[in-house]
């Protein structure tokens, strides 16, 4: 079954294992849980190395649901490895960072944090390496859930809860849509395996040609956009910043939000040529890029700025996918992961140190946190795209792709708009980077919030705190310098999703429009930064328009109100309404069924030849008894006449020769009459005055409808043509002989109940047991509650 003994399965399983160990661990693990998760992340990272070394594609597959054609398939192609390396690498760093950052008094809470973090890491690795659509969806949902747990880590304060809930709602909505999209894709192509679909042009052609393709594409895109906080769904990301900083760094910068873009990379080979692919992605990408950059510049809270810039950077990558630039998409992903991770972790150090994240209260920390300052500077420069950092190379490739894309060339207007938007957002990013670095670290050292100066110096950031950002920022610098040579280009080509030709990522690009564009963006950015007060004043004036998150909350509240209104209206507690609804459904269903099947009451042809005359007499008595029940003035009279009806019906069973049911009917009639007597005290007295004529008529109508339907149904079953051959019991293979041979009994009725259809009876008797237990449970708890109330009542009187 296991195709190859590769290390893919342990790589994904290890973090989950760590999560279980940490989660279930008792007190003594306590402080060590952080290190366990770190070790697991490191192990996963290392286990990926052999897979990367072997140039061939490493596969592992295990038949999970053979019936549905779903298999637990992992596949380590270049693109998957890229995300997997990022997830496990940055995961290890974040775990390391958390050991110092997350210091909780209650070890259980800390253990839960690490368990959620580890299971998130496992799920992300699953997404990176999954080769089966459904498997990808399962891991996708796990990430949504664990992100909910991690965002809502400090569940005491309401913002955390609200933010976590909103994140879950949005990403779950996207996940759901995406799963439907996957099902449609599998429906058309007949297989769930991603590699099978992408490698077979015939399947892709079939997918593109099928009418389901636009729907599937939009649904999958919905999943990607919600996860990567793209334009219509960008509002949950800033709200998710209430999470502890390592979580923000890991989930909302390096990995989780990347899953959406990663999905675009995975599905590009499938939907790339679809007519809807390019326009949607370009439009959404550009808008979220520009919107993110614009709002980032306006923000004051450190993490909110970073969240907005993440949305903007992801918008840029989505735009690239729209243009089909899949040769160097890994460069963009890697670059963003490195610098944004570093910046977030620096923000964590600053907050940890100065206990505030607001720029207007921060300043002059370069002496207190020298290393953090260096890391932040490198990260910001990479974000802005200054040489010699990786950011510059990525920006240059971005503009190259922008200018050389044939698709954009086809629509000059859109091309200019996109170009201008890119230049504007790059400039804004540069300005934000400047604001970020200089705002926090340079300038006079302002009195920190709450004026605790002495204590601020005391906790020099411990070693694990600054190592993580330093490594990330250093990585950005090293890769930038390496691009002088050929190393970066090889790395990018190896990990790109669908490299047509060898990507060229060089620090010294050929002179050309892309270079001028990025240089121009840099200059514009610096200018913007120098005039930042005027710009922010302008922005304040322009502020307006409803916040997207407010709209979303409004929609959710409306949904809740609608549900409540529905239930209040229909479940209004009146027994009469419930009874009428249940009774009326039968006639309604019959009318519908009759119209569907073409049955009609005209087909009834029943001869009364074989019915003995006493059958008629019993029926007349039955009618009289029924009228007596309805006309009864007191409850006891009604009870007795109902029992009489039961008796008369039993008599009919004698006339129509069915002894078993006769006995059952008689006994049940008695037992139920005793029940009625037992509860007679509680039943409401019959209304002294008669009901309003209106309600009487309505009741009459409902009863008549029900009665007529039942009569027609019965008569239809009696007409010979419709029901089964009349000798169903007596014919050779019939029930009687069957009962005798196998059941060993002449009484077919009992043999059927107990043996031939014993499975049904098991169901029925289980229902009976449940009824008994329900009565026992409900009444007992009600009585205990009443006694407590009475107990309290008497005490209060006595007091």
């Amino acid at each position: 079954m296991l195709e190859s003994s590769s290390l893919l399965l342990p790589c994904v399983a290890l973090p989950f294992l760590a999560a279980v160990v940490v989660g279930s661990g008792s007190g003594r693990i306590g402080r060590a849980s952080g290190w366990i998760v770190f070790a697991a992340a490191l192990a996963s990272f290392l286990s990926l190395v052999p897979a990367a070394a072997t140039h061939g594609i490493d596969r592992f597959s295990f038949p999970w649901l053979p019936a549905a054609g779903i298999s637990f398939a992992l596949r380590a192609d270049g693109f998957g490895l890229l995300l997997a390396f990022i997830v496990s690498g940055i995961g290890a760093l974040v775990a390391l960072y958390s050991t110092a950052y997350v210091a909780e008094a209650d070890p259980a809470k800390e253990r839960r944090y690490y368990a959620a973090l580890a299971s998130f890491m496992g799920a992300m690795l699953g997404i990176a390496l999954a080769d089966d659509l459904i498997l990808l969806f399962v891991f996708w949902e796990i990430t949504s859930i664990t992100s909910f747990l991690l965002i809502g880590y400090r569940y005491e304060d309401d913002d955390a809860k609200a933010g976590a809930l909103m994140a879950l709602q949005v990403t779950a909505l996207g996940g759901l849509a995406m799963s439907v999209g996957f099902l449609l894709v599998a429906q058309v192509t007949g297989t769930f395996s991603i590699s099978a679909i992408t490698s077979d042009p015939a399947l892709i052609a079939k997918l593109l040609a099928s009418p389901l393709c636009p729907a599937a594409l939009l649904l999958v895109l919905l999943g990607a956009f919600t996860k990567s906080a793209q334009f219509p769904f960008h509002f949950w990301l800033p709200r998710a910043m209430v999470a502890p900083t390592p979580v923000s760094a890991y989930l909302h910068a390096a990995t989780m939000v990347k899953a959406g873009v990663f999905l675009l990379g995975r599905t590009y080979p499938m939907f790339g040529e679809a007519p809807l692919w390019a326009p949607t992605l370009v439009v959404v990408g550009t808008t979220s890029m520009l919107l993110g950059a614009y709002q980032a510049f306006r923000e004051i809270d450190l993490k909110a700025i970073l969240a907005r810039t993440t949305a903007s950077a992801l918008g840029m990558i989505t735009l690239l996918y729209g243009l089909g630039a899949t040769t160097d998409d890994s460069l963009q992903i890697l670059n963003h992961a490195l610098y944004k991770g570093a910046l977030f972790l620096v923000a964590g150090i600053v907050e940890h140190h100065a206990h505030t994240r607001r720029l207007d209260q921060l300043g002059g920390l370069r002496h207190a946190l020298p290393i953090a300052f260096v890391a932040c500077a490198l990260g910001s420069l990479s974000m802005a795209g200054f040489p010699p950092l990786l950011g510059f190379v990525a920006k240059d490739n971005f503009y190259a792709a922008l200018l050389h894309s044939e698709w954009l060339a086809g629509t000059p207007l859109l091309r200019t708009v996109v170009l201008l938007a890119s230049l504007a957002s790059s400039a804004l990013l540069v300005a934000t980077a400047g604001k970020l670095t200089f705002g926090v670290f340079s300038g006079a050292e302002r009195a920190h919030a709450h004026g605790r100066r002495d204590e601020a110096h005391a906790d020099e950031p411990r070693v694990p705190l600054w190592t993580a950002p330093a490594i990330l920022a250093g990585g950005a610098l090293l890769l930038g310098l390496a691009s002088l040579g050929e190393l970066t280009s090889d790395l990018v080509t190896a990990t790109a999703s669908a490299p047509e030709h060898r990507a060229h990522a060089t620090l010294l690009p050929a002179l050309g429009w892309p270079l001028f564009a990025s240089l121009f963006a840099l200059v514009l950015g610096v200018a913007l930064y120098t005039r930042r007060d005027a710009v922010s004043a302008l922005q304040k004036r322009l502020a307006g328009g409803p916040a997207a998150s407010a709209m979303w909350e409004g929609a959710m509240a409306a949904l809740a109100r609608g549900g409540e209104a529905y239930s209040v209206r229909w479940q209004n507690g009146s027994l009469r309404w419930y009874l009428a609804a249940t009774v009326l459904t039968l006639p309604a269903l019959c009318v519908w069924a009759f119209s569907e099947t073409g049955l009609s009451w005209r087909q009834i042809s029943v001869t009364f030849a074989d019915t003995p005359w006493y059958g008629f007499l019993f029926c007349t008595l039955l009618a009289v008894a029924t009228i007596a029940t309805v006309r009864a003035r007191t409850r006891l009279a009604a009870a007795i006449s109902t029992t009489t009806i039961g008796f008369l019906v039993a008599m009919l069973f004698v006339v129509y020769r069915s002894p078993d049911i006769l006995l059952t009917q008689l006994l049940i009639e008695t037992v139920s009459s005793i029940f009625v007597l037992l509860v007679l005290v509680f039943l409401p007295a019959f209304p002294a005055r008669d009901m309003k004529p209106g309600t009487q008529l309505v009741n009459l109508g409902i009863a008549a409808a029900f009665g007529v339907t039942i009569t027609i149904l019965l008569l239809l079953t009696m007409t010979p043509g419709i029901r089964e051959p009349s000798n169903i019991a007596t014919r050779p293979g019939g029930l009687l002989s069957l009962a005798l041979e196998q059941g060993g009994g002449k009484n077919a009725v009992n043999v059927i109940i107990v043996d031939i259809r014993a499975a049904d009876t098991t169901g029925e008797i289980t229902v009976l047991v449940v009824v008994g237990l329900a009565v026992y449970g409900l009444l007992r708890t009600r009585r205990r509650a009443r006694q407590q109330r009475k107990g309290r009542g008497t005490r209060s009187e006595a007091a």
């Binding site: 007191t634 409850r635 006891l636 009279a637």
Partner: protein, 121 residues
């Protein structure tokens, strides 16, 4: 042939008693007299009617006779009891006897419950 004759006689007598009880139920003025009529059907009427099948199926299926006999014994055991209980219940809840009753021997024997709460519902 003899069996059928006997069975027919038993049936006719049984039915006669049933009909008499029916008439009694309808025409008697108050509940105590009706209970008296009901007593007849419950014991003699049913007894005779059960004898009919016992006799009819007698030789061919002996088991019917046994069950029939058991049923008669149980019927004689329970019906008087039930009618007594009803009469007692009516009396203690002071169900009004018909005007024409002269003698009420039970007056000083059975206590009449004072409260009217769940009497003649």
């Amino acid at each position: 042939m003899l069996l059928e004759l006997l069975a027919a006689l038993a049936m006719l007598a049984g039915t006669f008693f049933m009909v008499v009880t029916g008439i009694g139920l309808v025409r008697f003025p108050d509940v105590y007299t009706r209970i008296h009529a009901a007593g007849k059907a419950g014991t003699v009427g049913v007894g005779l009617l059960i004898v009919a099948p016992m006799v009819y199926f007698g030789p061919t299926e002996p088991f019917v006779a046994l069950r029939g006999f058991l049923a008669i014994v149980f019927q004689l055991l329970t019906t008087p009891g039930a009618t007594y209980l009803l009469a007692h219940a009516c009396y203690v809840t002071s169900y009004p006897a018909h005007a024409r009753t002269e003698v009420d021997e039970l007056q000083d024997w059975i206590p009449v419950y004072p409260d009217e709460e769940f009497g003649h519902e």
